[in-house]
Symmetry: C3
Subunit: 502 residues, 3 copies
């Protein structure tokens, strides 16, 4: 029976005649009208949707599933939507009054940007969880934090040296949209209308949208909701397979600041995924350890509903992705317990800065989860580990990991002490002289230490892959080298420039 | 029917008895003679060929295909070749008088190195297009450009510091062949003969070929033709699947100078390819968007004949790979419009240097394509984008990309200004003092900026993957850091060494 | 028939009811008892084993195979083991008196850590070969070499600058276990017992093991044997497919010190693997060139039993992995012939240091293999190359490779000469002043040259992939840049600090 399903899956990828594959599922008239033109002008989108579960199952059928296999978490869906496939019109005409980009298109009011507010119609639980996810707030968390803005400007802006100080031409919107905000999400805004001459329908009017295109995890949508479900559930197939394979997370987590994909790929788990994933089952809900997959992907540990071969729930699905994470490894400037609020702009450290830690390594305790919550999250994640590993294995792994959180924080503090001496010696303008801590050469070398090397070391530790990324590949080797270089830079200038120390 | 083909494909990979798989296709006697020995001494090559389309279809059959599905572009093939499989002898004995490595081997005149001049017998259109491709000229474009030679020597040569200047022992031929010219292609030359004792035929004489082995894209062949079709259509299966998957392009485009594979792999397109490619069809000609593949590979955007689900041509096949590219992103020293001639040694900037731009960012306009041609190429590529994306999406993406071309060029100019001040202050020997601009420490740091970081940022932008490669992974973060370091280096020496400025 | 096997493989991955898949193979009562509980508490392990060959074939059946297809190399196995599947109890209760972690668990004496000493029961030849493999000694080779310890401390330790010298707080055991010793292997030691409350059996006592978890290649086991077969033959499927695909080697060979996976992935061989491996056969023994695979993986060149399509042995299986390697490319400090003894702590260079070369590039000849043995190994590996390449190709490739060994050694010597001048000028404390050669900023930059860039260049050369890794990606570009920076550092300090030169 499995065999038959497999062959059907292959066959359905190649619809013999281009007709809608799942012919037995009713498609609304509105959607049929969309497809008529768009299959010609954007064949890729239409074909993608035809392969989707949205095209093959009606919400009514989906609501009929009982137990943990149910994918539609809303208790019911509006009557008009229940009995047809979830097609173009079903999503792009939802809640027209709430979308600033709603416009009349061949007789129908449609909007371009489908938002979590729309997806919530059927997937209420996932949308609500995600709204509590730190990612949903990624736009504001960066754009409305003065200190992060300073770092952003020092990276993106065009630098000019004037009077011994750096000044930055602010990066333009296009640069920001394709760099930091590519992942964080842009803030969308309708700025006007334009008329375009189309191949199939002559002149048509379309809204102009600032910040478009974007599929960042914290996109500020035109209905005010936050995020883009398509960041992970890539349109228009919205395949759970896409979200469960590690390549989706890689889109934003491959760089040296958060090199989780690189670390995963070279871990034992990543080895098994790469070697055997073609024999695994990525569409099953719930997802059964050992039966459907033999080593975790990102989703298995951090998001998915995972059960054992008896059907017992090992981990509940959660779209609040830090629900299984006690520590926030991404050093700002030090690794720290996860923030309580997904809106991190509320955080103040003891110096009043919008940072979860201060420069001396102290944590902004009132804004971060406490030990009890950390322990709850630790145990939630460990339940997944225990699916394949004994208790002594799991405890050993975690003890090493939490040791590494401490040790990398300690080395970051050592580096910060050197920088503080540099500032005190007047060799760079730090916060004491109202300078940015991110813009001068020596400060940038310091940033490498916590932003690249400490982070890499911690992610390597977390995923139990200490080998290369914990040592040579942006890990401890580079960290100690950078500390030595900072000291070397300081020693030379101390010896030669002899500025007055305060 | 699809199912059956699939199973046959699997089965044919494992010929039950080692006999030639496609028994029904006639194999020439000459080829049969080759196989008799070579199946024993080089079994991998023979088996590879047995799985090839060349072994399964005669040119005559291939010529019978009408319309866009036809793969043999020559109007006809020489009579002796039409009715048998395209085997060992068919290619290795073609045009014997033109190949300097032709030698008598067990009674037949064969040549070792098959060239585009040979492949052109059946594939005239592809060979002619490729000859106009900048890649075909990659040997000369590097070897015959004095300035690039200078850069090459500063990278490959053994450096010695003498009298405050660097001198370089020229890299030997072996080093050059496996580094720059591994991709650019070597210049082949027959230097003599050697006798080797063979397992199956005793003593045999073979030509000795300088520059061999090599499969670089601009190899200068022993018949004078340029390039190696096997660079992408890997011998001896010559599978279009190989050429269409991104791993082929990765062979030469993975390094930090042209990190297109790294960027692609972490893009949305790359995610979909990695996640779903096992369900896609990579052998169909033409290649149908949505039906055969759901996200583009390198080939889909830059080379292949792509059609929509109605069979309309979206993009014509082109082996002149910049046919869809208005901009040359690879900074020399700045990104610029593509050169008109694939032979770039003809270019002179306004200072008479063989560079498409000058150090102040000016472009060598007479040698580069004009705005109209840029627009034509832009629209040719955008037609592929539109296969899955709306016009506002595509326009938004391109506006960002062309903004990034300008912005990275501007930052490169900022860095160049610092270097020019360094030269003016006598702290390094630049062109004004007849020094190489590439050999001293501060000049090498400058090269990082345009050769690695500006390029990476641009490729990340071009492929709509701004996240990590546009920011931390050799992108803007490193670019601004390097500029700060250059300034820091200059400031220290200005303060301490106080050389006379001119 | 092939088709049927393929489908069975797919089907068996998804046991319909969770029952043991290979029902026709007898499972011992002891193993059945293990599975009863562990299928619930660690479902992943049990399911993994159920898919293994160990679950599907008895040793007796395996012993019946004649010729090169035989996988059990021991002439016989103890009677009690021959007729049942190789299950939990078969391995975890073997040789109970020899394992320090043997403990009573629900009525059975089991040990947690299965060792090569256990695997040797059936796989004597592989265990004995591996014991002569340098990897088996990776713990001692690092931990018991004073000079490598010095390097390790400079990378892992917390650095403090005192009186112009660096001192290091020794890294703790947890840090060491997840960094260097993650791959090298930890030294396991039973330190006590602990009682844990278990879900299914209430309070149970377990041994506490220092250094656990670990699967490093040189793990020192609790029975005194060295290594972990599971490093490559990942538990509990122990699939030969896992060991043969390159992702396994990647676990420890992806970093910039030994970037073999990065180089392989961007080589022609890696391209073909990535593009076509889903159609190849990774479980066949022996492994036939051309029939089972069309391009080599790590295992094909370095480990596996490879035959041609006539069944002739091209390369014998060897778990002494340098059996086909004349050169040790990993520079310490220079590339050199492979050590004779896998225990490299016995080596002394002519200055009495425990290094295979001295700082001037001289090799510790008495401890390294001689030219005849190098030639034997070269020819053993070349036999694999010749499976797909002609003699002139193979000879050309090897000539380039050995040229690169010489050239990178020569450049490393150039860099070392600069460092020696730095030491002589008193600008850093080298061996002459009893200083570590690895801890100061300038020394760390020197280490980049041999540890990262020379190694990368050599691995790129060895795998015939000179393109990016031989030039820009941590290759020659970075090597010459680092040499220029070292000189620049020295020149500035010579000019300004004017210390007395000796």
């Amino acid at each position: 029976m499995k065999l038959i399903l497999l062959l059907v899956a292959v066959a359905s990828f190649f619809p013999a005649d281009g007709e809608i594959a799942a012919a037995e599922v009713k498609v609304s008239e509105a959607t049929q009208a969309c497809i008529e033109c768009h299959r010609v002008v954007h064949p890729g989108i239409v074909a993608d949707w035809q392969r989707s579960r949205h095209a093959a199952v009606t919400p009514q059928e989906a609501l009929g599933v009982q137990g943990v296999g149910r994918k539609v978490s809303s208790p019911a869906v509006p009557g008009g939507l229940a009995e047809t496939a979830v097609g173009c019109a079903e999503c792009h005409t939802l809640r027209p009054g709430e979308h600033a980009d709603t416009f009349e298109h061949n007789g129908t009011d449609i909007h371009i940007v489908v938002s979590p507010g729309d997806c919530r119609t059927c997937h209420v639980q996932e949308a609500d969880q995600y709204s509590k996810n730190i990612m949903a707030h990624a736009y504001k968390n960066l754009a409305d934090n003065a200190l992060y803005n300073d770092l952003e400007r020092s990276i993106l802006g065009r630098a000019q040296r004037k009077g011994g100080r750096w000044t930055f031409e602010p990066p333009n919107a296009a640069t920001k949209a394709e760099s930091c905000y590519y992942c964080h999400g842009t803030k969308l805004k309708v700025t006007g209308k334009e008329v375009r001459n189309t191949d199939l329908a002559g002149e048509l009017e379309f809204p102009q949208i600032e910040g478009w295109p974007n599929q960042g995890v914290g996109r500020v949508n035109l209905d005010g909701t936050l995020g883009s479900c398509a960041a992970c559930h890539t349109r228009h197939q919205f395949s759970i397979e896409t979200a469960r394979k590690p390549y989706t997370c890689k889109e934003c987590h491959v760089g040296p600041d958060v090199p989780v994909n690189k670390v995963y790929e070279s871990s034992k788990h990543g080895n098994l995924f790469s070697t055997h994933n073609q024999d695994w089952e990525f569409k099953a809900v719930p997802w059964t350890i050992g039966k459907d997959f033999a080593a975790p992907t990102c989703a298995a540990c951090h998001v998915s509903l995972v059960v054992n071969t008896e059907g017992d729930v090992v981990a509940q699905r959660s779209h609040q992705m830090n629900d299984r994470l006690p520590w926030r490894l991404f050093g700002l400037v030090y690794a720290h317990p996860h923030p309580i609020s997904p809106d991190t702009t509320v955080i103040r450290n003891r110096n009043g800065q919008p940072l979860p830690t201060d420069l001396d390594g102290g944590v902004a305790t009132p804004f971060l989860i406490d030990a009890a919550e950390m322990d709850r999250r630790r145990r939630t994640l460990q339940a997944v580990c225990l699916g394949c590993h004994g208790t002594s294995w799991v405890n050993g792994q975690w003890a090493r990991f939490e040791n590494t959180v401490r040790e990398t924080n300690a080395k970051t503090l050592d580096a910060t002490r050197i920088l503080q001496r540099v500032w005190a010696a007047g060799l760079a303008a730090g916060p004491d002289r109202k300078g940015s801590p991110f813009d001068e050469a020596i400060e940038r070398r310091w940033a490498d230490i916590w932003l690249l090397y400490a982070n890499t070391t911690r992610f390597a530790s977390a995923m139990g892959c200490g080998g290369d990324y914990g040592v040579f590949a942006n890990g401890r080797y580079e960290m100690n080298k950078a500390i030595a270089e900072m000291q070397d830079w300081f020693d030379l200038r101390q010896a030669l420039l002899r500025p007055k120390t305060p």
